[in-house]
């Protein structure tokens, strides 16, 4: 909840020091040549020391690395929320709600499959807005209906309640998971863009922030549209459309999902993203896999975030850029460790997994 005035200067000062301790490109190059246990040892001498030591007795190998990375990520993002106040808190927390969504999905899946709550707890990344008490209560409930009651008072309650009826009918988690994701994306641009009585800023840090969030929504829409087009499943594209982006509107999506090539052309012709994604789109036309395209989308999003932080270093954009950089670090280390574990070559890891 936002209390008091926004404090981007203070938070940015703290974020800058955190950003300085992120792994550099040379560190990744070193990691790529190491095995999982060497990576864990390397992490012990860095920022991740406390988490690796704390979890070392319970986990080993790549699992230790992954859980240590998740716990460290959660710690850093919790700090961000602790430091932020006022509007900055609102803007940061709405982005970090993706971890709430992730945790809620994990808990609901745990209830659905009757998994031991201890195991479910291990998989949570407590980096979102939901406090520990709520999460602990969620871990104690036995039914999905009770879990929804526990989150009453959050933005997820209404959409989950609505989706619960469909869940009751079908017995599948899809409506609940989609409801959570939709709630997250649709709240991203809440009261910063196109809201009643407010005009969308055209320049300045908030305009860039909106541009970044629009890119995130557009990229999510593009991924989902391409996945739907590829799968050939009889699904209503409108049900998976997230409002707020500039790449598609609902009618575009309905029209394009049936024609894969036209969909790729539509993305390529977009002024904002066409050039950034041209290479990936070219490969996408020929390749069977969407993975390379998703990789390109991730890289483009990170590029956006880096641009944001350099243009407006004392705004929410810089905080957002740090969030993405930290996530990228965690993803890269995890990708290297998992890649080494399964015997992928250095070049494969560098080309297909790591985003530098």
């Amino acid at each position: 909840m936002s209390i008091g005035a926004s404090n981007p200067e203070y938070v940015n000062a703290r974020v800058r020091s955190r950003r300085a301790s992120l792994f550099a490109d040379e560190d990744y190059r070193k990691l790529i040549r190491m095995g999982p246990s060497e990576i864990a040892r390397f992490m012990e001498e860095t920022e991740y020391e406390r988490e690796v030591n704390a979890l070392g007795t319970r986990f080993s190998g790549v699992d230790l690395i992954e859980y240590a990375l998740n716990r460290n990520l959660a710690k850093h993002f919790e700090d961000l929320l602790d430091w932020s106040e006022g509007r900055l808190y609102d803007l940061v927390s709405r982005y970090l709600r993706k971890f709430d969504v992730m945790n809620l999905k994990t808990i609901i899946r745990g209830i659905y499959t009757e998994t031991d709550p201890e195991e479910v707890q291990t998989d949570l990344i407590r980096a979102g807005e939901l406090d520990d008490r709520t999460i602990d209560r969620l871990l104690e409930v036995d039914t999905i209906e009770d879990a929804i009651e526990v989150v009453s008072g959050t933005i997820f309650y209404e959409s989950l309640s609505a989706a619960h009826e469909e869940y009751e009918e079908t017995g599948a988690l899809v409506p609940l998971e989609n409801a959570l994701d939709r709630e997250f994306y649709e709240h991203l641009l809440e009261d910063v863009s196109r809201s009643p009585g407010r005009t969308q800023p055209q320049e300045g840090p908030e305009a860039r922030y909106i541009e970044f969030l629009q890119a995130e929504i557009d990229f999510r829409n593009a991924r989902n549209a391409l996945r739907l087009a590829r799968s050939g499943a009889d699904l209503d594209p409108a049900a998976y459309y997230i409002e707020g982006g500039v790449l598609f509107d609902a009618s575009d999506l309905n029209r394009l999902v049936g024609d894969y090539d036209a969909l790729v052309d539509h993305i390529a012709e977009n002024k904002r993203y066409g050039d950034r994604l041209s290479g990936a789109l070219g490969r996408l036309r020929e390749a069977d896999s969407l993975i390379q395209f998703e990789h390109a989308l991730d890289a483009a999003l990170l590029q956006y975030a880096d641009t944001l932080s350099s243009i407006y270093p004392a705004s929410v954009s810089a905080v957002l850029s740090y969030i993405l950089a930290k996530e990228r670090e965690v993803e890269n280390i995890r990708a290297i460790a998992r890649g080494r574990e399964v015997g992928l070559s250095e070049s494969e890891i560098e080309e297909e997994l790591v985003i530098l």
Binding site: D63, R109, D181, N224, L226, G339
Partner: protein, 241 residues
């Protein structure tokens, strides 16, 4: 075996019947064995293809899931997998290939579209889709391989059994029957010869006895004549003296 059988005509007829039946069975089994081998070769080709596909699908599935675990994290991949409780269903029927009952496995709900995989589409990625799809393909291949390889094993077992039967007929049963047949025939011939000889001997003996009887009779007649010649004539004297 040949010595165990009683050398009677009835047994010979029985053995001849068994030989006829065994020879017919041997021919039929030989044809069955050859037919099974031909069917087996077809199945073997198919099994080799299926095995190859299975290995490729397994490599592909492992690669996809490794990529998904690397990029999305183990937690996300496990979470997506846990979002589905429904299991694929398998029904087995059977079909008959030259008397061998082999399974025919029908699977349902193995390949799923995006909406049927249980996890939400909005918050997941193509990496998870492709890993799920690769594992669905792998499962299809495993089911096909199970069907083909079970058929192959059953055919192989049947070929072995048929081959053993053919060999048993060819190298054991039929030679024994032929030996028994030959033994009985020889014995019967021998008995026949003995019988003929015996009859001949009886006949000779009989003839000898008859001859002797005739001679004895002839001798008796001669004595009677001599005695009559030596006796004096009764009253009235002998006419002619």
């Amino acid at each position: 075996m040949a010595k165990d059988v009683k050398p009677t005509r009835k047994n010979l007829m029985e053995i001849e019947d068994r030989i006829e039946l065994s020879e017919r069975g041997h021919g039929t089994l030989e044809k069955k064995r050859d037919g099974l081998i031909m069917e087996f070769m077809d199945i073997l080709d198919k099994a080799q293809d299926v095995r190859g596909d299975l290995a490729d699908d397994y490599d592909q599935a492992q690669r996809k899931i490794n990529m998904a675990r690397a990029m999305e994290g183990d937690v996300a991949v496990r979470g997506a997998a846990a979002a589905l409780q429904e299991h694929p269903e398998i029904t087995t029927e059977s079909k008959n290939i030259m008397g061998v009952v082999v399974p025919q496995i029908e699977s349902s709900r193995v390949s799923k579209d995006l909406s049927e995989r249980g996890y939400g589409i909005m918050g997941t990625s193509a990496r998870i889709d492709e890993a799920a799809e690769a594992y669905e393909d792998l499962l299809e291949s495993i089911i096909l391989a199970a069907e083909v390889e079970t058929a192959m094993k059953k055919m192989l077992r049947e070929i072995e059994t048929t081959k053993r039967r053919v060999n048993a007929l060819e190298f054991k049963l039929l030679p024994d029957l032929y030996d028994s047949q030959e033994y009985i025939e020889q014995k019967l011939e021998e008995q026949e010869r003995e019988e003929t000889f015996r009859l001949k001997k009886i006949k000779e003996k009989k003839e000898q006895e008859e001859k002797e009887a005739r001679e004895a009779e002839a001798d008796e007649d001669d004595i009677e004549i001599d005695e009559a010649d030596m006796e004096p004539p009764a009253t009235g004297g002998v006419p002619g003296n």
